[in-house]
Each structure stands twice: as C-alpha cells, then as structure tokens.
C-alpha cells in the first residue's frame, strides 16, 4: 500500500470526520426528548382498542368495578388520552393489570383502590417496602427500581405501567413497548413531595379525582387525631437526620416526614427547607448547632436502629445535643422516613410519630 500515500491521510480524515459527525449527531439526538406516545395496541396483552363507537363523555350511573369515571377527557369507552411527561398517550380507561415501577406509584395505586400485579422491590429490601407489605397481598416482584426485569413484566401481561416522575428516557422507550407507561407531570410550583400532589397527579390521569379527594380528607382526619393524642407541640423543634461517621445529613423538610411533623406542630430548622434533593450534604460536626432541636429523629437503613444510635453517641459532639441529653432521640425506619411518598406512607409515618411521642 505504500504506493498510495494519500490513503493514509484519507483514513485519518475519515476518522476525524466521523468523530465530529458523531458528536454533532449526539448533540442533535439529545435535543430530541419527545418520544412518540405509544398506543395501546402495541402491547401483546389484552388491551382495549380505540375503535369503539361509543360516544364520549357518558358517565355510567353505577359501575361494577371499584374505579370511578371522571368527567373530562374520556374518549371512547376503551381508552383515555392522558398527558404525560413524555407526551400524550392512550391508556385503558379501566386498567386491570397494573405494574408499578417504584415505591410511590405502588403506594398511590393501592390507595386509589387498585391491586397491582407486579411491582419493583423497595430499595434495600427483597420485597416491597415494609409498610406496604400488608396492603399488597400476593404481588410479583419484577426486579429493582434501577434494573426492572423487562421479561418478567412482559410475562405479567400488564395493561398499564405506572412509574415515578424521574424515569429515564431509555427505560421509558423500553417500557412503553410493553404497555402504556404513565409518567405523571407534576404541576409547576407544586411540592413534589406532598403525598396529595402526587396522588392527584395519578388520579387525574386515571380519572379518579373523587377518590383522591376522599384520600385527602382521610389524611386530614388522621392528622387531627394524632395531633390530639400527642398534645400541643407548637413551640417545639424537631429534625430528621441520617447519621454518618462524618456527621449528620439533614432530611429535606419538604418531604412527607417534614410535612407531617409540621402538621403536628413542630418547627423544623431553616436549613431543612433550603435543601435541594432528598437530603443535605453531610454537615460538619462543627455545625451541629443547626440540628440542636428538641426532638431528633434518626433514620437508619439498618434493621437495628439501636446500633446507629450507639454509633452516634460515640461522637462527643452528639452527646452535647440537648435532644440527646433529654433522651428525645428516636430511631426510625430510614426507607419510610426518607424516600417513601404517598397516602399509605403518610399514614405509616403518622403512626410512627404517635408511637414515639405519646409516651
């Protein structure tokens, strides 16, 4: 090949050009964030077809199933048109076989009255979250939240998949091939950690806003009940933390736990509300004054919260905190208190608070 010196240049130029082209294409690909919504007919399962001739917006007087129809947006009796984070899709109006990806969708689905056939395992566990276990009965575990097993999902023949708002696009592409995948939209400015906001988002998509209202009322009633049992806590401060060797991480005050605690009457430190994401960075041990509240709730992922408490007590800085001195440090289930969201979670947290304080 030495007779053709130009060929080597050609090869190098080809490589450079292809590299540039790939970069350009990658930038172009990334802006194309809107995958087309899939219609339900792609799924192999028995999904309802959109070819029914029934006129729209007829609300039947009575329904045999537990679900209720809402007024707006229902097309033909088979499917509903729903706005999701990935565009408008068609979902069955009366889903029978629901698969949930993530703890919160499972919580909300069960609260709304469905019985999902498949769910992902909760983080740190091999099954669903502990507080959900009694509500779900015999449910098939289809993998972890990060790596759901697509084949298991297919075998369940779902007609609707409910996911969290943070689903990755690549996973969405794959899931929507199996069944319509509902990734709800949180209204602008709403607190995404408010259990009712999420519940309403799902409920509106599924046409069950009445049931959502019922759930909101139930939650209010329960809060009032606990407030009575626990006494007047206004004027007392509390904080939810995770304890690491390097120092504490403060849980976001907007989370369900923060909301419940402030409903009961506690005030959380300002720092808790300035956090982005689920929890703060690890606070320096020199700054424990920020968490020097009347009550401290330590969230642990261990089964043995006592161990975590002992570890924290080994730090002299922790020893000095007034909550520790007054024996008002409570260890709680980390999974429930830091990342769970939904009506059932809120109820479970209230139960924990009641148990801790009403003594």
């Amino acid at each position: 090949m030495s007779r053709y010196p130009g060929r080597r240049w050609l090869a190098l130029i080809l490589v450079m050009v292809s590299l540039l082209a790939l970069v350009a294409a990658a930038c172009g690909e990334a802006t194309d964030v809107e995958p087309q919504g899939q219609t339900a007919t792609e799924a192999p399962a028995s999904s309802t077809d959109a070819t029914d001739a029934t006129p729209a917006s007829e609300t039947p007087a009575a329904t045999a199933s537990a679900t209720e129809r809402a007024d707006n947006d229902s097309d033909a009796a088979g499917t509903r048109s729903v706005e999701t984070a990935f565009g408008t899709i068609e979902i069955p109006a009366n889903p029978q076989r629901i698969v949930t990806i993530g703890d919160t969708p499972l919580d909300v689905a069960v609260s709304l009255g469905f019985s999902p056939v498949g769910a992902t395992s909760s983080r740190g566990a091999t099954g669903v979250a502990a507080y959900m276990a009694e509500h779900v009965g015999d449910i098939q575990i289809i993998g972890t939240i990060a790596e759901p097993n697509l084949e298991s999902i297919v075998q369940l023949e779902p007609d609707l998949i409910l996911t969290e708002t943070t689903l990755q696009e690549a996973m969405y592409e794959n899931l929507s091939k199996i069944a319509p995948t509902l990734v709800p939209i949180i209204p602008e400015g709403a607190n995404r950690y408010d259990p009712m906001v999420l519940t309403r988002a799902y409920a509106q998509a599924l046409g069950m806003t009445d049931r959502a209202d019922e759930l909101a009322d139930e939650l209010e009633a329960r809060i009032a009940e606990v407030r009575e049992k626990v006494g007047d806590r206004s004027g007392q401060t509390a904080v939810v933390i995770r304890w690491m060797a390097q120092g504490p991480m403060v849980m976001n005050g907007h989370l369900v736990t923060g909301q419940m605690l402030s409903e009961i009457g506690f005030t959380l430190p300002e720092l808790a509300y300035e956090i982005e994401g689920g929890h703060s960075d690890v606070l320096s041990l020199e700054n424990l004054a920020e968490i020097d509240t009347d009550w401290i709730f330590i969230a642990t992922l261990n089964q043995d919260g006592q161990q975590a408490l002992e570890a924290a007590r080994q730090q002299p800085a922790f020893e000095r905190l007034k909550a520790n001195q007054a024996n008002q440090v409570v260890t709680v289930n980390g999974q429930l208190w830091s990342s769970a969201n939904g009506p059932l979670a809120a109820t479970a947290i209230l139960a924990d608070i009641e148990q801790a304080l009403a003594q």
Binding site: R123, G124, T144, M244, A245, Q246, G247, S280, D281, V282, L283, S284, L285, E286, N287, A289, E290, L301, N302, D304, Q307, A308, E310, A311, Q314, Q315, P316, A317, R320
Partner: protein
C-alpha cells in the same frame, strides 16, 4: 537497573527535617484554627491558650484535635508506605492507591459491611488483610519478568487489579443495597468524625508497620541498587521484599481503616521527599513521615473551608491536589521508556 535522572541531594537530612517539621507545625496550627463552623482562628487560638469560651474549647479539643491527630497518623503511614513500595518495586510510580493495595482494603471493608458490620464498627483487621492481598498481587506482578523493570507495566497491572476488585465490590453492592448506601460515604475518604478511640485502636499496627520498615531500611537501600548487588552485599532479597510488603500492608490497611481510601498521598509525598534529600531511602523515610501529615492536613483544611457548612470529601481534594503534581513530575522527569 533504570532509575530516574539522578539529582544530587540538595539538602542534608537534618535541615530538611527541620524545614519539614516547621511546615508541619504551621499546618497543624491551621488545622486547629480553621474549620467549617463558626469558631474562627482567634477564638480557636484563644481556646488553646486556656482563655476563651466553652464552645470554642469543645470544638478545638473535641473535634479538631482528634482530627488533626488522625491526619498525622494517616499521613505518615501513607507517606512511608509509598516510599517503601516505590523502593521495593523499584518503580517511581508505585503508589498504594494506583497499585490496588487500597482497592484491596476497600474491597475487604465492603465485604465486611455486607456481612453485617455497620458503619460504626472498626475495620482495622479487615482492611489490613485486604491491603495485604492487594500488596501480594502488586509485588507479585512486580516480579514478573519484563514487568518489574518497567514502571508503566506495573501500574497497568495495578489499575487492572483495582478495577477488578472494584467490580467485584459492585457485585456485592448490587445484592446488598444497604451496604451500597453506606459505602458510598466511606469510599470518598474523610477525617471528619474520627476520634481518639479509633486512632488508638490502629496505633499498634501502625507502630508495628513502622518498626518493620525501620528494621528493613538498610536492606531496602541495598535493594534499590539491584537484586544482584543486594545479594552480594549479604542481604536476603526475598525476605526483604516480603517484609516490605508486610509493612506496607500494615500501614496502608491501618490508614484506610481510619480514613477510607485516600489516593495520591503515597505518590506525591515520596516525590517531594526525594526532591529534597535525594533517593536514598534511609533519608527519604523520615521526611515522608513528616511531609505526609502536612499534605493530608492541608487537604483536610481545604476540604473544610471550601463548601461550608458541609465539607468536601478528603479523597477528592487529595486527587485534585495530587494529580497536577503527578503531571508536573512526569513531564519534568525522564522516566524509563516503555
């Protein structure tokens, strides 16, 4: 054997040591004076001298002092370990982190957490065994014909070992998510929250490691002249290497048990020491014992001050400080060719 370009010793040992000690004193004072909280230098120094308020006193003696002590122990352990490893492997790029010794310790810690230990218990014996395993492989690879003479091949072997151990750790973490949640705070390295009992627990092993190193210091110096020369001088080459391995494992394991895996210290500190006093290990080790803590504490102070009220993880700061030094050294020196 191939060595880096010989630079004549610029300083004799005692002046260099004095200089380093002075530097260390400044850094230690800074470590006691500065922090992520509200206790500034004036209050802190006031507390040191007896006067001052209660909070400042607690912060300085209860928080910063144990941390500084931990930094001293970890720094000198890692610095000495790096110098010994570089001499035993006859390789200026040998560093416990790069060669997979730290990865071995980390892997052992991951396994022990997964098996039930919690973040509160001490990892010292586990980490030391893990470091020992990493050391075995690192030095084993160094003895391979063709690999040992060539620094880059040894480093490649170490990188391969580290990534393999890292992936096996991932397998464990895949199964046990609780461990994954705890370990991610440990792997970034930190001196925060390490208090006196922790240090006291690993002190025996650190002292033992240093003792082994001191015992072997003359054979190691001979070893750097080449295996044949060392043998002809009457030293037992194989025993020396094994002993050096043991010493490095003890030191790195203890340091990792306290602070988590911290890279680059074992690389940068011996380089700086050699630049000061020349390549003779008998001179380098004392300097490393002092410069190591200085580097760690500088990184720690930076870690505290950069993102108040939280702290940056120590491993990240040392990487950012160490990497430019590595680049500068590699560009300036003429290292053996591939």
């Amino acid at each position: 054997m191939r060595r880096e370009q010989n630079t004549a010793p610029r300083l004799r040992v005692l002046p260099a040591l004095a200089l380093s000690l002075a530097l260390l004193a400044v850094v230690v004072t800074a470590s006691l004076a500065f922090g992520a909280g509200g206790v500034g230098p004036e209050r802190a120094l006031g507390a040191l001298f007896g006067s001052g308020d209660d909070e400042a006193h607690f912060v300085v003696t209860g928080l910063r002092l144990p941390r500084t002590l931990a930094g001293i122990v970890v720094g000198s352990a890692l610095g000495i370990a790096g110098a010994v490893l570089q001499t035993a492997a006859r390789n200026p790029l040998a560093e416990p982190g790069l060669l997979g010794v730290s990865a071995g310790a980390s892997f052992a810690v991951v396994v022990s957490i997964a098996l039930g230990a919690s973040a509160a218990t001490l990892y010292a014996p586990v980490a030391i065994i893990g470091a020992l395993l990493g050391c075995v492989f690192a030095l084993g690879a160094a003895r391979l014909r063709g690999v040992g003479d060539d620094p880059i091949r040894l480093v490649l072997a170490g990188v391969a070992l580290s990534s393999m151990l890292g992936s096996v750790s991932s397998l464990v973490l895949l199964i046990d998510q609780r461990t994954r949640d705890e370990i991610r705070f440990w792997t970034i390295g930190a001196l925060a929250g390490r208090n006196i009992p922790t240090i006291v627990t690993i002190l025996p092993t650190v002292v033992l490691g240093i003792a082994i190193v001191l015992l072997l210091i003359r054979p190691l110096a001979a070893l750097s002249l080449g295996d044949q020369v060392a043998r002809s001088l009457g030293h037992r080459v194989r025993m020396t290497r094994i002993g050096a391995m043991l010493g490095v494992a003890l030191l790195v394991g203890s340091a990792t048990a306290v602070s988590g895996p911290i890279g680059f210290v074992g690389l940068v500190v011996p380089f700086a020491a050699r630049a000061l006093v020349g390549p003779d290990i008998r001179r380098v080790v004392p300097i490393c014992a002092v410069l190591g803590p200085a580097l760690i504490l500088v990184a720690d102070v930076l870690a505290r001050m950069l993102v108040r009220p939280s702290e940056m993880p120590l491993g990240v700061v040392t990487a950012f400080v160490g990497a430019p030094v590595l680049v500068a050294v590699v560009r300036a020196q003429r290292l053996p060719a591939l």
